[in-house]
């Protein structure tokens, strides 16, 4: 029920297209999406492979909720080894590719090997073909989608890369439906290294569930009483830009390369400035919220900008010009690049230039040069050649490591840990590097009632968040529906036709989290890597509620020690055999 029990495996080196049964016992432990993708990748890859080689795999995984009426279930998990960090990388992309893959008859698509020349993959139910993509290579994502819709129909859903992925930029992304991305860690470059320009999918088969009447009842009630509520409606009413004022008011809004947490121009790029443009809301498949803001800023049309872009490519660059940010966003969407990483890289370049440590030719607030950057970086032209290496590598070459705001090679996103200490732990221990999607304790601290400037209880807070997201992103549900584990349990039991108690889901979440950790341990990551840039430990914030604050190193170390203890990991951050046994791994 719900599962297809079918994996589509495509090898681009040999050109083979094969179907194989989905591993049933793994689905019982890992369900789908993030967890199942991690399990397959862990088992199929050896440690130490080059992420941009034929040895890497791209695993596109749906979950048991995909293709059903469970609200907010339309996302796809793509798992691979990251070229930016060398760690396991899973990205979540919205739109409707995942449901199409399920309707076409597959739970998962595994892409192996490397094509000799540019190709694209088409999936039309049973008909799966590898096509020549030479007519698409070098095109932006928008034109690629348009072209593929002409060739395969408007009903087909496209995942594709742009020039940034083709050029193996460290922070290239995969795009879909123009404005949705699998954004971080250079996932687009894995696709580019395989010379896979796009995957097009159309599906027309039924998705069934065990107890349809009960699921319809549960889902209808959930939409009314649990999704369209105060807790989640911010996503529909304003979307992520509502976080701009929240961050700015609590002093955690990354400003001018994390030099401060309050940005004078915040009012020009907040939710109001976007609401004035009367966006047409856009939802992913089966989502009752619809967080996308499709709008026009002067001559720029884009679905966005999202909070992270307004933060990293706005305040962090000293830019408060909404049209400029929208243009930057649209260009990155077309070129196929992560706005978080690029915004962060530019912030670093601006600070280095202003300090006189290295002239990258760009300063804070220099909108004209800023707008040239996406193309320069995607094509490695001029200063873009250096900037495309990412902030960690730039600091290695030119200095400035103390304020190269990254963890393990992934540029930090939009929340300053000096104003939310648990967020610092979350960044340091996230499975894919400096990431805000593993756990988001800023909601409880900066945006809530918990004291942000103490480590008490914070390790547990982060762990609970990480386990919760781990199972949530395996069933596949979207981050923006803050549902309880009990609700997840009710729904998954009804879909699968077997009891999956909340305790099972909690354990599965912990299991997925430990598996992600095991992958990284196998790649050689240890306690010393679970750290933060020196700026966080040493440079006090200047403004707002956290003025004068740092996250003191000793406090961070204490928090990290407690974190490992509570996780059941040793002092090197490695899951112990007892813990793995307990989790039936």
């Amino acid at each position: 029920m719900s599962y297809r029990w079918e994996v589509l495996r495509v090898n681009l080196s040999t050109g083979s297209v094969a179907k194989e049964p989905l591993n049933k016992s793994w689905t019982e432990k890992y369900f789908g999406g993030r967890g199942l993708g991690a399990k397959y990748l862990y088992e199929e890859l050896e440690g130490g492979i080059d992420p941009l080689s034929a040895d890497n795999e791209l695993i596109l995984a749906t979950g048991p909720f995909t293709g059903t009426i469970v609200p907010c279930s339309g996302k796809l998990a793509i798992t691979t080894k990251s070229p930016a960090t060398g760690m396991i990388l899973d990205c979540s992309i919205g739109g409707c590719f995942a449901p199409q893959l399920k309707f076409a008859g597959y739970d998962m698509l595994i892409i192996e090997g490397q094509a000799e020349k540019p190709v694209y993959l088409s999936i039309d139910n049973e008909k799966v073909e590898i096509h020549d993509a030479s007519h698409l290579w070098s095109k932006g994502i928008f034109e690629t989608e348009s072209q593929l819709h002409e060739e395969h129909g408007m009903g087909a859903v496209v995942l594709s890369i742009g020039p940034a992925g083709e050029n193996l930029i460290r922070f290239a992304c995969i795009g879909s439906e123009y404005y949705r991305q699998a954004g971080r860690g250079g996932i687009g470059s894995v696709m580019g290294s395989k010379r896979l320009k796009a995957v097009v999918c159309s599906g027309g088969k039924d998705v069934t569930v065990f107890d349809m009447p009960r699921l319809l009842e549960l889902a209808k009630k959930a939409i009314r009483e649990d999704v369209l509520t105060d807790t989640n409606l911010w996503a529909h009413v304003e979307g992520t830009p509502s976080i701009v004022e929240m961050s700015n008011s609590s002093g955690v809004f990354p400003t001018r390369n994390y030099q401060d947490g309050v940005f004078a121009g915040a009012q020009k790029i907040n939710a109001d400035s976007i609401q004035k443009l009367r966006p047409h809301k856009k939802a992913c498949f089966a989502c009752a919220l619809g967080c996308g803001n499709y709008l026009c800023v002067e001559d720029i049309t884009v679905e966005g900008p999202e909070y992270e872009t307004l933060a990293l490519a706005g305040a962090n660059c000293g830019v408060d010009d909404l049209r400029a940010i929208a243009k930057f966003n649209a260009d990155c969407d077309d070129l196929g690049m992560d706005t978080i990483s690029l915004g962060n890289v530019l912030g670093f370049a601006m600070e280095m230039t202003e300090r006189g440590m290295k002239d990258f030719g760009i300063r804070f607030g220099d909108v004209e040069t800023y707008l040239k950057m996406p193309r320069l970086v995607a094509y490695r032209k001029g200063v873009g050649k250096e900037l495309s290496r990412g902030v960690k590598q730039l600091a290695k070459t030119y200095g400035g490591a103390e304020f190269a705001m990254q963890v393990k090679g992934l540029e930090l996103p939009g929340y300053d840990p000096r104003g939310s200490w648990a967020m610092g732990l979350a960044y340091a221990t996230a499975s894919r590097g400096g990431c805000h999607m593993s756990a988001w304790p800023v909601a409880d601290e900066a945006f809530g009632d918990l004291d942000p400037f103490t480590i008490e209880g914070k390790a547990q807070l982060v762990i609970t968040g990480q386990h919760y997201n781990a199972i949530k992103f395996s069933l596949i549900l979207c981050d923006f529906w803050a549902l309880s584990m009990d609700t997840m349990s009710e729904m998954v039991s009804c879909v699968l036709g077997r009891e999956v108690p909340t305790a099972n889901l909690e354990k599965a979440g912990e299991r997925v989290w430990n598996l992600l950790r095991l992958f990284n341990v196998r790649e050689g990551f240890k306690v010393a890597d679970d750290s933060l840039p020196a700026r966080i430990f040493k440079d006090p914030l200047k403004s707002g509620t956290p003025a004068g604050r740092v996250l003191p190193r000793e406090q961070f170390d204490s928090m990290l020690r407690e974190y490992y203890q509570l996780c059941g990991w040793d002092s090197e951050g490695v899951p112990t055999p007892e813990k793995l046994k307990e989790l039936e791994m």
Binding site: I69, C96, S146, D206, K220, L228, F285
Partner: protein, 162 residues
């Protein structure tokens, strides 16, 4: 030489057209309306429809289609649903589909699964179900399920009363 005027209409077709005209005069004209500004393109309506009527989740087996897509020129959001054009009624070779004045009705016993109605529907909202007979939209007999499910009240039914 006498020139032919108009087209040849046989008696059966003549009877059919008269029956359609009479039944139209008797009843209302139900339709679904989409507020394209409120519609987010979530497709919950399509899922609800296929779930209710076919017991499965499959947008291709829904009696409405939300087109919500980006093109290079912008975004298009519109609805395809039964407009009571009655082409399926006129086309059915065994007269299995009738119009009761408000919505379409199919006699499953008569339906041969020929698929002519599927091909002729200009909205693309008629299809063959798992039993091989035609699945015909009927506005859920007056209480459209899609209207109930839409989270943003973007879709509603309208009824002209004759």
């Amino acid at each position: 030489m006498k020139h032919k005027v108009g087209v040849d209409i046989n008696n059966k077709q003549k009877d059919r057209a008269v029956a359609v005209m009479l039944s139209r005069e008797g009843g209302g004209n139900m339709k679904l309306i989409l507020d394209s500004e409120k519609c987010t393109g979530c497709k919950l309506c399509e899922l609800a429809c296929s779930a209710k009527h076919q017991g499965v989740f499959n947008p291709k087996k829904a009696h409405l289609k939300i087109i919500d897509q980006y093109t290079e020129t912008g975004r298009e959001t519109r609805l395809k649903s039964c407009t009571l054009c009655l082409k399926c009624v006129e086309t059915c070779p065994v007269e299995a589909i009738t119009f009761n004045g408000k919505w379409l009705v199919i006699d499953d016993g008569l339906c041969t699964g020929c698929g002519d109605c599927v091909d002729v529907c200009p909205e693309g909202v008629v299809f063959l179900n798992s039993e091989g007979t035609a699945a015909i939209p009927n506005f859920c007999e007056g209480n459209p399920y899609c209207v109930e499910w839409c989270p943003h009240e973007a879709i509603h039914k309208e009824e002209d009363v004759a």
